[in-house]
């Protein structure tokens, strides 16, 4: 079995910052595993601006923000990047198995940083009932379809939840000539950033219904309409408030959850940026959901240093 120093799982902003930081703090053998065909994680599909205001004191798009880190990573020979490499197994003794086109590899690491990001909650996780036609997308999938593939998912949109991705996509759909009929938010106020409420919703006169929920989805082959209602403090339907909205597309923007299936495999407990297994660390959105990528970067620099400190004490030979 091949032995490696520090292995980082996930090449989004978190994984890249952690790699750079570990290198800057003295680690010399770093392997960065990313399952996609490029580094940058979710930022690649976030073509809107608003990234880096805190960290770079500049307003960048997602790919521009990512590019700054990708450049840096490329210029550090001690960081080996392996793309199209998906980690499928992680054991408490820090044995990692990953697949890539052409081979399966099992390696033993001295230290590991998990930076696997997050995924979006689905319609099923918030238990919205009704039919299951085409036309129901997570906001992030719609973002990928439009921004990366140039495909327009639909023309009459209802956004469920007011998370940032949903707000940003409401604007995007409007700019693409689609009609955003409503944003339906069960809470009293938005879950997203105030700036997104103003720039993405108010400036485009998109109707927002707070204290409302979708009670049912209709349509056999394609979404035809939804019914919505006002809710009380316990999120129960207020009698007599039900109404319908005709639409062909539903975007779910009801929250993100950390992708922690690999850590769960080890049985390790998460404890800040560390875990109950010495030498396994976590950072970025797989640890906790950050509103802004700037926070992810800072958190990951810290984690890279923690991993470097661990290596310095336990495995001095891996020091530069």
């Amino acid at each position: 079995m091949i032995k490696r120093g520090l292995v980082i799982v996930g090449g989004g902003p978190a994984g890249m910052a952690a790699a750079i930081s570990a290198y800057e703090n003295g680690v010399k053998d770093i392997l960065l595993l990313e399952r996609d065909q490029y580094l940058g994680g979710i930022l690649n599909q976030c073509v809107h601006t608003g990234f880096g205001i805190n960290y770079f004191k500049e307003i960048l798009t997602g790919p521009e923000y990512a590019e700054r880190f990708i450049e840096k990573v490329k210029n550090i020979p001690e960081i080996e990047v392996s793309l199209k490499s998906i980690v499928v197994s992680l054991l408490p003794d820090k044995t990692i198995t990953f697949l890539k086109p052409g081979r399966l590899e099992t390696i033993k690491a001295k230290a590991i940083i998990m930076a696997t990001g997050c995924r979006e909650k689905t319609r099923e996780m918030v238990h919205i009932q009704g039919t299951r036609p085409s036309g129901i997308f997570s906001a992030g999938l719609a973002q990928k379809l439009i921004n990366i593939e140039g495909l327009l998912p639909g023309k009459e949109i209802v956004v469920v939840g007011s998370g940032d991705i949903g707000l940003i996509m409401a604007r995007r759909f409007t700019l693409e000539g689609a009609e955003v009929k409503a944003i339906i938010e069960i809470q009293k106020k938005t879950r997203g950033l105030l700036r997104n409420m103003v720039q993405c919703v108010e400036d485009f006169n998109i109707p927002v219904y707070f204290n409302h929920k979708i009670s049912r989805i209709y349509g056999k082959d394609r979404v035809e309409k939804v019914s919505a209602c006002k809710v009380d403090d316990n999120f129960n339907e207020i009698q007599g408030s039900l109404f319908e909205i005709k639409c062909d597309t539903i975007l779910m923007s009801v929250g993100l959850i950390p992708e922690n299936e690999l850590i769960e495999m080890t049985g390790a407990r998460i404890d800040g940026n560390k875990t109950s297994v010495p030498g396994i660390f976590m950072c970025g959105n797989c640890l906790k959901i950050y509103d802004l990528v700037d926070g992810v970067t800072e958190d990951s620099f810290l984690t890279g240093k923690l991993a470097a400190d661990y290596i310095r004490v336990r495995h001095p030979s891996l020091q530069r």
Partner: protein
């Protein structure tokens, strides 16, 4: 025009089982299906249980065929390379009255010939089913119960039937039928078919097909069942299939293990009118959760990753499988409610016998290809085996569906074997069926489908015309 010996209407598990059974003989067979793909009717949305035969009245046709089917499916699944797992089932008792009922069920099942039944005590339950409600006092254990992937069974039966000469016509809806002198004239959305014998396996629409030939003495009443799938992480929730006894609060909601590895809870049972109403409801999820928690209290609704509803094509209490004397050559295979999946191989044999009795000459082919090469599913095999597969074909290492670990190779294979839609890919491979529900892999699967089928992206559908995934292509249009 060609005259088929036998035309079969409906490519669910019943129609494909019959087609495959008849393909042993020197016959020209047409299997006619209205949907774009096979298994898009009832056979896609059920519990996937191969029942042992318990809970059927002793004199019933469905009881007898269920017990036979449970035996036959073992050989068929081996021949076709579809995984059948004998996981066993437990019917759980909570009080004295329940125990009496258990004993009654046991006796009835033994009359039907269900093997290996035994009553297990509380100690056994605690040891073998640790998450079970501690209020359970004993259970009826039926070791022969098992699980299978219902749609993969249909696809593999069909593939094997085609290899043995059966012609399958999808997107072909039967509109009316004429009993001419020597044959049936079957008028469909894609032209006229002619056959000497006709088998009606049209599931929920079997009454309408039968009505086309003037036989109107039964009606199919859809009975809806809502089911809720849990995250694979909870695969160890239960070791067996767990059944309650029907009671005031529970209508028979089960803890199910699926062939894909996810636990599932359900189904509800509700008589409805609309044969196309596959919606789930708030009442359904609440009822299922409450009933399932009576069996396993630790079930968390946060673990629900998917749900669906299926309609049991019920007509009275039993199956209707018979030759219609008033319309010689016409066989109804209708009202195939639960346990129709289990009984399907036995129904196929019975149907062949009925055809034979009514004059169809069943001459065995010299060469019948009984075996089919097993389809590779990475999630079913050990990682070390995955490693050698990847060496042989790099595309096994190119993971498309990350939640369920499904490779580009499995997806392009599925398309080459007949998947035409996103759901068709999902049923064959499980891609998009995991916890992110396709958020990450939809675009990639669309591209593979488009490439393999030479279809523009914009024409890719979820399950046929009208269910296109996207509305406009801004790059290529």
């Amino acid at each position: 025009m060609k005259t088929y010996d036998v035309a079969i209407i409906g490519a669910g598990v019943i129609g494909t089982s019959i087609a495959r059974e008849l393909s042993r003989y020197k016959l020209d067979i047409a299997l006619i299906e209205k949907e774009v793909e096979l298994a898009f009717g009832v056979s896609k949305s059920n519990s996937g249980i191969i029942h042992p035969g318990t809970q059927n009245p002793p004199g019933s046709l469905k009881g007898r065929l269920c017990v036979q089917g449970n035996t036959l499916i073992r050989k068929i699944s081996k021949e076709l390379g579809v995984d059948f797992k004998e996981v066993g089932e437990l019917i759980v008792a909570f009080d004295e009255d329940d125990i009496k009922e258990l004993l009654r069920l046991k006796k009835e099942a033994e009359v039907l010939g269900v093997p290996g039944l035994k009553i297990v005590d509380k100690k056994w339950l605690e040891k073998n089913e640790p998450n079970l409600n501690s209020a359970a006092v004993c259970g009826l254990y039926a070791p022969t119960a098992g699980i299978i992937s219902p749609y993969r069974l249909v696809y593999d039966l069909a593939e094997n039937a085609v290899r043995n000469g059966v012609k399958i016509f999808t997107n072909t809806k039967v509109i009316n039928i004429n009993r001419a002198d020597k044959y049936f004239e079957i008028n469909t959305s894609s032209g006229l078919f002619r056959s000497r014998y006709l088998v009606n396996a049209a599931g929920l629409f079997a009454d309408e097909i039968s009505g086309m030939l003037g036989i109107n003495d039964f009606k199919i009443k859809p009975r809806k069942g809502e089911e809720f799938i849990l995250d694979k992480k909870k695969a160890d929730l239960a070791r067996h299939l767990i059944f309650p006894l029907p009671s005031k609060i529970s209508k028979g909601v089960l803890i199910i293990k699926t062939a894909d590895g996810n636990p599932m809870i359900g189904p509800t049972a509700e008589d409805i009118e609309d044969k196309e109403d596959l919606s789930t409801s708030d009442a359904g999820i609440n009822r299922v959760l409450a009933s399932a928690r009576r069996l396993i209290p630790s079930i968390n609704d946060k673990d629900i990753i998917a749900y669906f509803a299926g309609l049991r094509p019920a007509s009275g209490d039993d199956f209707i499988i018979r030759h219609e004397e008033t319309c010689p050559g016409f066989i109804n295979v209708a009202g195939i409610q639960s346990p129709g999946l289990t009984a399907s191989p036995a129904i196929a044999v019975l149907t062949a016998n009925i055809l034979k009795k009514n004059g169809l000459w069943l001459r065995k082919k010299i060469i019948f290809h009984a075996h089919r090469k097993k389809t590779v599913h990475l999630f079913e095999i050990q990682l070390s085996k995955t490693g050698s597969l990847i060496k042989k074909d790099h595309a096994y290492g190119d993971i498309v569906c990350r939640c369920e670990m499904i490779s580009a190779k499995e997806i392009s294979d599925a398309v080459r074997r007949g998947a035409k839609t996103m759901d068709g890919v999902k049923f064959r491979t499980r891609a998009q069926g995991g916890r992110c529900h396709g958020s990450f892999c939809t675009t990639r699967i669309m591209k593979i489908l488009a490439e393999e089928t030479q279809m523009p992206l914009i024409e890719i559908t979820k399950r046929g015309k009208g269910s296109e995934i996207v509305k406009e292509d801004r790059v290529n249009d």
